[in-house]
């Protein structure tokens, strides 16, 4: 295998590489330390190659997904909200982050940082408390689900004004490098869906592709994207300033607290699947 890792958690899974090129066009991108070429045939068929070698590729949820080994251990996860009528699907673009993708997913699952990193948007001091929530691994899919998450937010989305509201969240981890969140939307009773799909450039670099499947009758696409970019732009300097870019999964290198249940479960879930890519070796 020419790739920078031999971790089957990466090689035998579907990895996002961004949107498909237009028909008859192509572009190069980075995947696991290699440059791969993406192209779309005139009839719409997507292709991916590493040098002269074709790689397994599929088009789903607006992106291309590549299985480096050609032997996917499981099908790509379900994302039913993507096709639901009434939802707006907005690709917010890929943003490079110089850190292990595991740190990015852990940050995505975390509510405790909202008042500090996303002050006046997703949180505000003194509303700092993380109430107890439920986390489980679903036996059927192997996905992590965190439910009954609540947090007081000054401005929860582009559609919200800044009067503040308690926002309900559900989180879901489908792959080591893919997660979704569902949160109270502008439309009563419905939840917006936000996906984060990480393209693994190498063990310490990812391109984060963010996708909205949301309800919003007012904001333009540009406004929805700008809101996500504002939020992501607040996380990026934090993410790139972990003293260890790779995430430790065991030992006492880092100390969780009570509200870190999602993070603790995610790290255990990674440990149980023998994750090595993007992991800091135990001291």
């Amino acid at each position: 295998m020419p790739f920078v890792t031999d971790d089957p958690n990466m090689l035998d899974d579907w990895l996002v590489v961004g949107p498909a090129p237009a028909p008859s066009a192509s572009r190069d991108t980075r995947l696991l330390g290699e440059t791969v070429r993406l192209s779309t045939d005139a009839d719409g068929t997507p292709r991916c190659s590493l040098g002269d070698t074709p790689l397994a590729v599929q088009s789903s949820y607006g992106y291309l997904w590549v299985c480096p080994s050609g032997r996917p251990a499981r099908p790509l996860f379900d994302f039913p909200e993507y096709g639901e009528p009434g939802r707006r699907r907005v690709d917010c673009g890929g943003i490079g982050v110089a850190v292990s993708g595991l740190r990015v997913i852990e940050n995505f699952l975390d509510m405790a940082h909202f008042p500090f990193v996303h002050a006046d948007y997703l949180g505000k001091v003194p509303h700092t408390e993380v109430a107890q929530y439920q986390v489980q691994v679903e036996p059927a899919t192997g996905e992590i689900w965190a439910t009954d998450c609540r947090f007081w937010q000054p401005r929860a989305s582009a559609a919200h004004d800044s009067s503040g509201s308690e926002v309900l969240y559900k989180y879901r981890v489908m792959q080591p490098f893919s997660a979704m969140l569902y949160k109270s939307s502008f439309r009563a009773g419905e939840l917006d869906a936000i996906g984060i799909f990480l393209q693994p450039v190498d063990e310490e670099h990812v391109i984060a592709h963010t996708l909205l499947a949301c309800y919003d009758d007012h904001s333009t696409d540009a406004e929805l994207i700008a809101f996500q970019h504002t939020i992501f732009g607040q996380d990026k300097p934090i993410l790139e300033n972990h003293a260890f870019k790779r995430m430790p999964l065991e030992g006492r290198a880092e100390t969780p607290t009570r509200g870190d249940t999602s993070s603790v479960t995610y790290r255990r879930w990674l440990r149980e699947r023998g994750m090595r890519f993007g992991v800091r070796a135990a001291a």
Partner: protein
């Protein structure tokens, strides 16, 4: 002090004392490859901590000083000056922060206008050489960062006639003391103090000589 033989057990001149304002800023520091967060509590005491929050390893230098505590930028966890003990976890306001959550702290000394850090767990008493490292009434010129090992810097300063252990001599014709910091394997800081007055011709000559010194050292082939 600060000679090649005892760098592992030495006091490192990491920053100028005046650059740390009480209850205000955090300065990134280095000593022998250890990254440091340098700050001063509101009560005036200088702090040198491992630049890493114990919770999720985000650099403390992104955080903020709140009175006598350092708050991490990521989750707002607060740590006490002196002990480094975690005192507040905002996600659980009613919970007492566990005793085992503690920032790693290093021994500090303030002498000769500088903050000095000792990397051993038990810092020894501050030796007199530190207090006398810079003659009274001298002025700070600048800190040079040089992409070379501290050993190479010492050799080159010696070639300029500045001798161990005081590293005192003339640079650009101006009477100078050079305090050398072993920052990383190939990164050294040289804090220059001088008898020349700020704005004087002698101070300008020293600035020019310092720049030339750095250029000369960085042009050397890599050593050791």
């Amino acid at each position: 002090m600060n000679t090649p033989e005892n760098t592992a057990t030495t006091w490192h001149p990491v920053a100028r004392s005046a650059d740390l304002r009480p209850g205000a800023n955090i300065v990134a520091g280095f000593a022998e490859g250890q990254e440091l967060a340098l700050w001063r509590a509101a009560d005036g005491t200088a702090q040198a901590w491992e630049n890493r929050c114990p919770h999720r390893s985000v650099r403390f230098t992104l955080g903020q000083v709140i009175d006598n505590r350092l708050a991490c930028a990521y989750h707002g966890w607060q740590y006490e000056a002196g002990s480094g003990q975690c005192a507040s976890i905002p996600a659980h306001p009613a919970m007492q922060a566990p005793r085992n959550v503690c920032a790693k702290t290093f021994g500090t000394a303030e002498a000769a206008g500088m903050l000095w850090v000792h990397l051993s767990p038990e810092a020894p008493p501050v030796p007199d050489e530190l207090r006398n490292a810079v003659p009274a009434g001298w002025h700070f010129c600048r800190t040079l960062t040089v992409r070379a090992s501290a050993g190479t810097v010492r050799k080159e300063l010696a070639r300029h006639g500045m001798a161990s252990p005081a590293w005192r001599g003339r640079l650009g014709g101006t009477e100078t003391v050079a305090l050398i910091l072993d920052a990383q394997t190939r990164l050294a800081f040289i804090h220059l103090w001088t008898e020349a007055a700020p704005g004087s011709a002698a101070m300008k000559a020293l600035h020019a000589a310092a720049r030339q010194l750095r250029t000369d050292i960085e042009a050397l082939p890599h050593q050791g």
